[in-house]
């Protein structure tokens, strides 16, 4: 089981949700996030004074999948959110040791489906 975390542009959240639903990948958690990668922020202005914005608004998408769906998920995410420009974000894949469905107490693969 893997946790797939994708840092994406906030305006791509809906496209991602739709793409995942279309290929019947289940479950998605979105968090509002701020951060920087290669972009390193930019300058903004308020009342005539310039200031540096170091952290850009991003969305963090989290999806739990079984090992056989990892590649399909990655492709789906990439196709849905890629613009080809700097700032598209990153995908991290993490090993998950166990999963619990709170309502039933199911564990592992059963909790996932």
């Amino acid at each position: 089981m893997k946790l797939i975390t994708a840092i994406i542009k906030p305006d791509k959240v809906e496209a991602l949700r739709k793409a995942l639903t279309d290929v019947e990948l289940q479950g998605l958690t979105i968090t509002e996030a701020k951060g920087y990668g290669r972009q390193k922020g930019h300058t903004e202005m308020y009342r005539g004074a310039e200031y540096d914005v170091h952290f850009l608004p991003k969305s963090r998408a989290e999806i739990l999948v079984s090992d056989d769906l990892v590649e399909k998920t990655i492709t789906t995410i990439t196709d849905a959110v890629k613009t080809g420009k700097i700032g598209d974000g990153k995908i991290f894949i993490t090993e998950v040791s166990d999963i619990v469905r709170i309502r039933t107490g199911e564990r592992g693969a059963e909790a996932l489906s």
Binding site: M45, Y46, R47, G48, A49, E50, Y51
Partner: protein, 434 residues
């Protein structure tokens, strides 16, 4: 055809026989103007509250709202206890007397209320005295509203309220006595229709003094001179507040005609209302255009300041008989304010809402404009502008320094970090976002 001729001759006759309305009717309309305009100006207190709530960070929202309702109430009490008396009762040249303290209806007024038939004695006064008191009181409140916005997010609540009491009970009434009270500036011919200097610059000078003594909010200016802007939390509230101020300003300027008992007065009020609107509109558009040119993008907060600047600028002479000149006066007000905003940062004066550019700078300009376009003499206008500075800056400074040396003026660094709503009040503005 014959009928039309008849009609027009009838109109002609009516015109010829036109006479001024009788004294009691004039008394009613004059009094109505004071009450109605005063209510509009009272609404400006809400405008300031909303504008300031929009410009501060959310952790200081309840505190700024509290200061606003407190200052309006303090003005109401202090102007009743001493302010009105010092400003209007037996003004000798420099200050009124305390003879009007604890003001109550006169014996003539009480007699009328008791059913006496001495209507004439009352009517001769032209308007009801309480309505005049109310109209003057809301102006006094406006002056101190300007201070709360500029000094927001760091001046402690209690010291601010003490300052508000001195400002509304003493500082504003003294300058008021010099001008509208009939004192030495009025004798010289100083012309300030609704108070570009008397209300807005007086408030602006006090705000500037407060900002200088308080220092900037923590984090606004770094040691190397860099500015880190602190953005306001709520632009819808800031915009709502600005619109409310604009709305109330029709009472502020319109009511300052001080009479509505004749066609002449009603026409003059209409001209004032039109000029007020045109000047505000010009202030906004100039601020929008200039912020685009200077900063490559439009700044909403500067556009909002532009509205106030246009309004403040026209306030000294909204009775101009040329609407186009009002547009120029308001537009220049908007321009000067837009230029003054980055200048404030250059001098590290941290004015949270732009009160100094909008009220002081535009107030000075508007007062000068009366000397340029209106009936006033430019030399006398300059004397009036300087007199406001010479009176208000030292007096405010004394009060601020006394507060600083005794109860303290500014929040501690720790309190400033957690915000005034938690440090000084029990009320957070948006507790569900904890």
């Amino acid at each position: 055809m014959k009928f039309i001729l008849f009609l027009s001759s009838a109109l002609l006759v009516t015109n010829v026989s036109h006479a001024a309305v009788d004294g009691e009717v004039a008394y009613i309309f004059n009094t109505f103007l004071f009450i109605f305009s005063g209510i509009l100006v009272m609404f400006m207190a809400l405008g300031f509250a909303m504008l300031e709530a929009g410009f501060v960070r959310k952790k200081n929202t309840s505190a700024i709202l509290l200061k606003n309702i407190a200052l309006y109430s303090i003005a109401g009490i202090m102007f009743y206890l001493v302010g009105y008396s010092l400003m209007y009762v037996d003004v000798g040249g420099y200050i009124g007397s305390l003879g009007g303290m604890f003001y109550n209806p006169t014996s003539d007024e009480l007699a009328l209320l008791d059913g006496a038939e001495n209507v004439d004695a009352i009517v001769e006064t032209g308007y009801s005295a309480p309505s005049d008191w109310f109209f003057q009181m809301v102006f006094c409140a406006t002056a101190v509203s300007i201070v709360s916005g500029a000094c927001a997010e760091r001046i402690k609540v209690w010291p601010f309220m003490i300052f508000a009491a001195v400002m509304t009970g003493l500082i504003y009434p003294i300058f008021g006595a010099w001008t509208w009270g009939g004192g030495w500036l009025a004798e010289m011919g100083f012309s300030d229709f609704a108070g570009s200097t008397i209300v807005h610059s007086v408030g602006g000078w006090a705000a500037l003094t407060g900002c200088l003594i308080l220092g900037a909010r923590k984090g606004k200016y770094s040691a190397d001179g860099k500015v880190s802007p602190i953005a306001g939390a709520n632009m819808p509230l800031a915009t709502l507040g600005t619109f409310i101020l604009w709305f109330g300003w029709f009472g502020f300027n319109g009511g300052s005609q001080l009479a509505m008992g004749s066609a002449l007065d009603v026409l003059a009020i209409s001209i004032v209302v039109v000029n007020t609107n045109i000047a505000a509109a010009a202030g906004v558009m100039v601020a929008i255009i200039l912020s685009q040119l200077m900063f490559k993008k439009i700044d909403l907060t500067i556009a909002l300041n532009g509205a106030i600047a246009g309004l403040v600028a026209i306030t000294a002479g909204p009775d101009l008989q040329n609407h186009f000149i009002s547009m120029i006066v308001g537009g220049i007000g908007g321009a000067l304010t837009t230029f003054a905003i980055p200048l404030m940062d250059k001098f590290k004066i941290d004015d949270v809402v732009g009160a100094i550019p909008a009220h002081l700078v535009a107030g000075i300009w508007g007062t000068l404009a009366v000397g340029i376009f209106g009936a006033g003499s430019i030399g006398v206008q300059i004397v009036g502008i300087l007199a406001a500075a010479v009176l208000v800056v030292p007096l405010s400074a004394i009060v601020f320094f006394i507060l600083k040396g005794t109860v303290g003026l500014r929040m501690t660094v720790e309190d400033e970090a957690i915000g005034m709503d938690r440090a000084e009040l029990t009320t957070e503005a948006y507790p569900e976002f904890r």
